[in-house]
């Protein structure tokens, strides 16, 4: 195996299809340690599928994926994941603290309940997302933005090497969107971050590099993104809007 020294995630000639039509087609991608990579592309362009392949939730039909030099399913516990839509029922009787505590699974021992160290880690993770005061709230009472911060805390609480976020700011207001991305930029000093977004203009001011996926994948340094690149990805009728007000 020829892993590059600094490569955290490597995809080589990876293809995947749900029904015979390729959603991800012959994709090559190397993400290096400490990189902040934005993934953009049109709806149904394969963004979430690409993340699920890296997470080991889906198996590629061809090609090879390595995460931290291992099979994706062997590296899952080193990843903090924020899904686009929470895969749980909002009516579940659980407090924010308990939900975030579940992010500590896979650390520590097998049997019994959570320990003091776990609870301290939860308080720290909630503080990281300005959610200290949410810890005793039942999740059914959270607003969309509060829930998003809780999901981020749940991903951070295991102190993962890699953070993978699927549209982390889709349901929240813009001030919080800036807050969350500022937080991510701060974390980037210690972590490798992949973030999917539909909003290329917004994320390009944060990330080092943008991967555009529309079945196939093309990478751009953020300083090279202009109207031409965006037109190639989304087609012609696109206007750029500056988001910094």
């Amino acid at each position: 195996m020829t892993s590059r020294a600094n490569a955290v995630i490597e995809l080589e000639d990876v293809s995947f299809s749900y029904t015979g039509i390729a959603v991800v087609d012959r994709v090559d991608l190397v993400v290096e340690r400490g990189e902040f990579l934005g993934i953009v592309g049109p709806n149904a362009g394969g963004k979430s599928t690409l993340l699920k392949l890296i997470l080991g939730l889906l198996k590629p039909h061809r090609g090879r994926i390595r995460v931290l030099g291992r099979e994706p399913t062997q590296a899952q516990r080193a990843i903090g994941y924020v899904p686009q839509h929470p895969s749980f029922s909002r009516d579940f009787p659980i407090t924010v603290e308990q939900a975030v505590l579940l992010g500590r699974l896979g650390t520590g021992r097998l049997l019994g309940g959570f320990r003091r160290a776990d609870r301290i880690a939860v308080q720290r993770a909630l503080a990281d997302v300005e959610g200290e005061n949410l810890s005793r709230r039942p999740i059914r009472t959270l607003s969309g933005g509060q829930l998003q911060r809780v999901l981020l805390a749940r991903a951070l609480v295991s102190d993962p090497e890699i953070l993978i976020l699927d549209e982390p700011t889709a349901n929240i207001d813009q001030r919080l969107e800036y807050d969350i991305f500022d937080k991510l930029r701060e974390l980037q000093a210690h972590k490798t971050i992949l973030v999917v977004s539909h909003d290329i203009g917004f994320i390009s001011s944060y990330v080092n590099r943008v991967a555009c996926i529309n079945r196939t994948l093309v990478c751009h340094r953020t300083d090279a993104i202009d109207g031409r690149v965006i037109r190639e990805m989304y087609g012609d009728h696109v206007r750029m809007v500056a988001h910094r007000h």
């Binding site: 899952q76 516990r77 994941y81 895969s87 579940f92 009787p93 699974l105 896979g106 049997l111």
Partner: protein, 278 residues
């Protein structure tokens, strides 16, 4: 009520019945909470009804029906679990088929068993007054099994109940815990069949937990609340049914059902009140 308390001190079969009801409510509280939050009432119903196949077979071959029930319940839980894990598209139909096939097998065996067959009604509707005292020990052992399994692996069960995808990513073997959870449902079904019979099992499995769910914010509080409520309904049903000589199982279910409807309305009113700006 006074009459019931007086009879309780005189009649040992009533004390046995009360103990059986209380032992069953531990299972109904712990496992019923999972059934409610994971919304697997239909799966639990399938397990409960297909148990008749095992009880019928035990009846025919002369084994204790409780053993037949336990084996049938675990087999049917594993079958239903594997269907859910590997054949999700046809889940609904397949569970329905297993439900009916299990019952048909049971009725077949009971019909072909020589001699007078009164047991069918007590399998279907239970009779807490006929629980033999030695069965209390088996029920207690099953409770210890449930408490032990959920106590040791509480975090994993909570994770699988709350968010399977995330549990998987954190390294929890989700299919294993899912199948074990269904086996715990099977054990609980067998506990409750003693009390209310297999047709009414689903009510005691879901109603106490659902009522508790109206008021608590965590799964462990839901388990405690549902256990207490299960005890109130079984003991209360037994007491109410005694003097007018009503069947105790249906009395318990009507008590639980009435309480559930009242609680659903009450908690809705409470929620609207809270939401109203002051």
């Amino acid at each position: 009520m006074h009459e019931f308390l007086a009879a309780l001190s005189e009649q040992s079969f009533l004390r046995t019945a009360l103990a059986a009801g209380l032992l069953a409510s531990i299972g109904c509280g712990i496992v019923g909470s999972f059934v409610v939050v994971k919304q697997i009432g239909y799966l639990a119903g399938g397990i409960a009804h297909s148990v008749l196949g095992g009880m019928g077979a035990a009846h025919y071959f002369g084994f204790p029906p409780l053993a037949g029930a336990l084996i049938a319940a675990v087999i049917s839980a594993l079958l239903i679990g594997l269907i859910r894990l590997h054949w999700k598209a046809a889940e609904d139909t397949l569970i329905g088929a297993l439900w009916a096939i299990g019952m048909a097998i049971g009725i077949m065996f009971i019909a072909k068993t020589p001699g007078y067959s009164t047991d069918l009604m007590s399998y279907l509707f239970g009779n807490i007054l006929l629980v033999p005292p030695r069965d209390l020990w088996i029920m207690a052992a099953l409770d210890v099994l449930l408490i032990g399994a959920v106590g040791l692996f509480y975090r994993q069960f909570l994770a699988v109940a709350f968010d399977e995808e995330f549990a998987d990513l954190r390294g929890v073997p989700v299919p294993v815990f899912y199948l074990v959870l269904l086996c715990l449902v099977a054990v609980t079904v067998v506990l409750l069949i003693q009390v209310v019979g297999l047709i009414l099992v689903i009510a005691l499995l879901t109603l106490p937990a659902a009522i508790a769910g109206h008021y608590v914010q965590s799964l462990n509080m839901m388990m405690i609340g549902a256990t207490v409520l299960g005890g109130v309904f079984t003991a209360g049903g037994l007491a109410i049914s005694y003097a007018p000589d009503l069947p105790p199982g249906p009395t318990m279910i009507l008590l639980a059902g009435g309480a559930y409807i009242a609680s659903a309305i009450f908690s809705r009113i409470l929620a609207t009140r809270r939401a109203r700006p002051r």
